[in-house]
Amino acid sequence: MNVELSRRAFLQTAGAGLAGTTLGAFGFADIEAAHAAAIRSFKLANTTETRNTCPYCSVACGIILYSKGDLRKGEKADITHIEGDTDHPTNRGTLCPKGSALLGFVKSPTRLQHPMVRKPGSDKFEPISWEDALGRIARLMKDDRDKNFVARNNDGVTVNRWITTGFLAASASTNETAFATYKVVRSAGMLVFDNQARV
């Protein structure tokens, strides 16, 4: 955007009048010294940028994830900072109090890390492998479906529905997740199916 380009140029002159004069004379050591003296070194230097959108409300502000490491190069990526994307037409780089603290969501101490199971009557979660968890859930689903599937109603009409197991879908998962979910849920004949639009 033109305004922003001129703005950038403007800030360069406004931020300091010395860019053209003494900047050239700056050696690396000088930069280090200046930083050590007072100004914190710029923490986004040499990080990887990734474009994303805020997962909270439906304004869907553009955000930039800054990470150490680059997923696209097959590296592990650790997100170190998130801020608004000025290029985004809606938010123009701004973020609300939730969006500005998104890093805390990614790094929340209460994020789930491992599949867990709580057995009937137990007062705790226990770790379980993905394979065991998925196998067991599929078994529970199949047993319930086979037992309670309604192929025909009392009038003999084919209805092919399963209403003893239900699925609540999210409000912030991607369209792609939603579609994959839709296919799995509907193909099983589930009707007890809702999302968070209502609440």
Binding site: T110, V159, T165, L168, N195, R198
Partner: protein, 812 residues
């Protein structure tokens, strides 16, 4: 949203009612402040509380929660009385002139056809007179007393400023100030935008709240134009997308509907859907329904969906009830009729009404599966957390799986914002621990299930085994693959219907747009309204071109907007009957004698003649509806109904309790406080605060710092009456439960006088629970009633009755 966030900059008047945009959508609200600063636009906020939106408004009007329809019909009445109507618009683009059947009546709060036992209407009288030509009868002169306009005039006449004050508690002079400002926008060169959210939807008549404003906007000629529109701010980042994609009990993607058991085959199903035009020359776009449906079936079951088997029509489950929404799901669970339940990024223990009932319901499940990035309360409903979750784990036999999923920062994909923009995002971080993408989890679950059915057989395995699963790695579908599937693909060569030599898509290629969909099985498309999002031009959702000619606010090359990259819905209505923009400075599209063109993708065929084809192409009439025929369960016009728990008796229909067509489960009615209850004298409402997002950000330390602890807000007057001090503990209880909270005593809530009675309001924000970084707290859903909107079953969180007293702190 009919318009987009960036379009709000073009408005002259913003009305925030049924929402709190500054607080819940701060970055979208930016465009309100821009309109104010650059155009001199005004902001009106109508809310029971003086909100953060109100803090920057030009005019604030208080209103009792649950009385929006009275206020809005009062505004329509004012506009009609003062002749502040954009007549050309109303006559050309609404059904004002349509003549309604004999037999339609409204009396004592009820429309014709009411069946008290069923709490439902026989809606056959809610329709137009159909002439011998098969078209609706129209009286362009509006002289016919049974034309929609005259019925409307009569219907709203009772909502005088005095009646508005009596019902809503809004002082008459203040209502008149609002009305005068709103009425000004009936000028073709003035626009008003309506910004609303859950403050309107979370009522037993939520849909009608919105309809009332939509009708007002039609009367003022503010739909389809820049700076106008009905703008649902929406809650979560992809609630629009999940709804568009039909993740609801009764929907298929793209607002197609699931068959009911009264529709045994495709022909029966189609007989009630492919609407024929009700007026000459109209597009009635739903005539294409079958193309959308068949293409969807092909995307689901591929080669197993054939013309011979009605395109796998029987693979779809058939409904026996209107829907199995959240409330019904918990009701059935409570009755012990549900054995398994999945929560994918949803925390119903916090989010659903009447928490006690929810805990009892979950305790009756055999298994519960949680897929979430966060440690939700629902996943731990069986765990004792003192007064915050007072359960005995040993008595709960539910097997619970807690599966860690990734968050936004760790997956690729698209989300749909409230302005219907599909925006792609990219993963930037490695998931923590063993967390997996939801697509991986769903694929793995499916493959496990499929394997069991393949090996063991079982109840009707075909739709599972034959599900189209065309991904390079079946165990881990990629977001791009799914997006392409949603966009749709030609299964055989598709040519233009008018010109068969023109190829729209070769076999195997991505479809350019939904216009290429066919009903013969030659196209597959997951969600027709999204078609065009990922075509042979590439991933249009990932577009990042910010050009915006003339700063009009469209950003047509940024991402992709459904349908067909259209940024303002009904944009044909921005121009008059001859195709000339009502306001040249607000042009969206214009007719140049040959075709439509302008900033946006026209909402009608580019060559549809302006004087023939109406702008509202999804309606068989081609015009918008002030009278909505039988489309709504609770009436073709909105009418004021009190909330199910109301501090006063309905002044306009004293015999009617709540919304007469809203579903109430057996036993729940007994759990409502009576109208004007002495035991529960205060009108409570629940809401969000800007510092938090739903139940998520209490897991974020920084946000927990910003609002650490559960509190309720009351007026200085109520605090004085009850001896409640600022920051002190209070107990708040309803007929369903009790919570302990700290008190915020504020000038921002003031008592209202309704029907001669002083009504105190108790505000209850909802963000706290028993997991996360914030202090443990109760939410309002210990208190809320288990009843939803008559049409879409959104629970009535915004209006219920409570009592309050000073209290010692929580026991734990």
């Amino acid at each position: 949203m009919t318009n987009s966030w960036t379009d709000i900059r073009n408005t002259d008047l913003v009305v925030i009612m049924g929402g709190n945009a500054a607080e819940a959508h701060p970055c979208g609200f930016k465009w309100v402040t821009e309109a104010k600063a650059n155009r001199g636009a005004k902001l009106i906020v109508i809310d029971p509380r003086f909100t953060r939106s109100a803090s920057v408004s030009d005019l604030y009007a208080p209103i009792r929660q649950g009385t929006d329809i009275a206020f809005l019909l009062g505004l329509i009445n004012y506009c009609i009385q003062k002749d502040k109507v954009q007549w050309d618009y109303v006559k050309a683009f609404t059904n004002a002139a349509y003549v309604v059947k004999q037999g339609f009546t409204y009396q004592d709060g009820l429309f014709s056809g009411y069946d008290e036992a069923k709490r439902d209407y026989d809606k056959s009288s809610w329709d137009y007179d159909i002439g011998p030509d098969g078209f609706a009868v129209v009286d362009e002169t509006l002289a016919n007393p049974r034309c929609v306009w005259n019925l409307l005039k009569k219907h709203v006449a009772v909502y005088t400023p005095e009646m508005v004050e009596r019902i809503c508690g809004t002082p008459k002079d203040r209502f008149l100030k609002v009305a005068a400002m709103v009425a000004e926008t009936s000028s073709p060169t003035k626009a008003m935008t309506s910004m609303y959210a859950l403050g309107w939807t979370q009522h037993s008549k939520g849909s009608q709240n919105i309809r009332a404003m939509a009708m007002l906007q039609l009367v003022l000629g503010n739909i389809g134009i820049r700076g106008g529109g009905m703008n649902a701010l929406r809650g979560h980042s992809n609630i629009q997308g999940l709804t568009d994609l039909g993740l609801m009990s009764n929907l298929l993607p793209g607002y197609l509907t699931l068959p009911t058991q009264k529709e045994p085959d495709l022909a029966a199903y189609m007989s009630t859907r492919g609407f024929k035009p009700l007026r000459p020359n109209q597009l009635s776009y739903w005539q294409n329904y079958k193309k959308f449906f068949v293409s969807f079936q092909k995307s689901m079951w591929g080669s197993a969906a054939t013309p011979e088997n009605d395109f796998a029509y029987d693979y779809l489950p058939k409904l026996d009830l209107p829907g199995y929404d959240l409330l019904r799901a918990f009701e059935l669970m409570h009755q012990g009729k549900v054995n398994g339940y999945f929560c994918q990024g949803f925390n119903p223990l916090q989010a659903a009404p009447n928490k006690k009932k929810v805990i009892e319901s979950l305790s009756k499940l055999k298994f519960l599966v949680i897929m979430d990035p966060l440690d939700t309360e629902t996943g731990r409903f069986w765990e004792n957390h003192g007064p915050y979750n007072d359960v005995d784990p040993s008595q709960i036999q539910t097997e619970v799986y807690q599966l860690p999923s990734t968050c936004f920062a760790e997956d690729d994909g698209s989300l749909v914002n409230s302005g219907r923009w599909l925006q792609w995002h990219w993963a930037g971080g490695t998931p923590p621990g063993k967390a997996k993408r939801d697509t991986w989890i769903m694929a793995q679950l499916y493959l496990h299930l499929k394997e069991l059915y393949t090996k063991e057989g079982g109840a009707f395995p075909d739709p599972i085994i034959k599900l189209n699963w065309p991904y390079a790695d079946p165990g881990d579908p990629k977001a791009e693959e799914l997006a392409q599937e949603i966009n749709g693909r030609a299964l055989a060569r598709v040519t233009d219907t008018a010109d068969p030599t023109k190829v729209l898509a070769e076999a195997g290629k991505l479809l350019p747009a939904f216009a290429a969909l066919r009903d013969d099985g030659s196209t597959a498309c997951g969600c027709w309204i999204y078609s065009g999002c990922f075509n042979e031009n590439g991933n249009n959702m990932a577009r990042r071109d910010t050009t915006d000619p003339d700063d009009a606010g469209f950003y047509s090359k940024w991402a992709f907007s459904w349908p067909a990259n259209r940024r303002i819905l009904y944009n044909r209505a921005s121009a008059d009957r001859t195709g000339k923009p009502w306001d040249p400075s607000r042009k969206v599209i214009a007719w140049d004698g040959q075709k439509w063109s302008g900033y946006d993708v026209p909402d009608i065929a580019p060559t549809a003649k302006p004087d023939q084809v109406g702008p509202f192409i999804m309606n068989p009439e081609g015009v918008s509806r002030l009278f909505t025929r039988g489309m709504m369960r609770d009436g073709p016009f909105p009418a004021h109904y009190e909330p199910f728990e109301s501090p006063i008796v309905n002044p306009v229909a004293p015999k009617v309790r709540g919304n007469p067509a809203a579903r109430v489960f057996e036993g729940d009615m007994a759990q409502f406080a009576e109208a004007a209850s002495k035991e529960f004298p205060y009108a409570a409402t629940s809401y969000r605060l800007t510092e938090h997002f739903h139940f998520w950000t209490k897991h974020v330390i920084v946000n927990a710092v910003m609002q650490p602890e559960f509190f309720v807000e009351i007026s200085e007057q109520l605090a004085a009456e009850k001896g409640i001090v600022k920051g002190g503990w209070v107990r708040v209880w309803s007929k369903r439960g009790s919570v302990v909270a700290k008190a915020m005593v504020t000038k921002r809530i003031k008592p209202l006088i309704c029907d001669g009675k002083t009504i105190h309001i108790v505000g209850i924000p909802l963000h706290w629970g028993f997991t996360g970084a914030a202090k443990k707290g109760f939410g309002p859903n210990m208190l809320t009633p288990f009843v939803g909107d008559a049409n879409i079953e959104t629970p009535e969180y915004k209006a219920f009755l409570v009592n309050i007293e000073p209290a010692p702190g929580p026991a734990a």
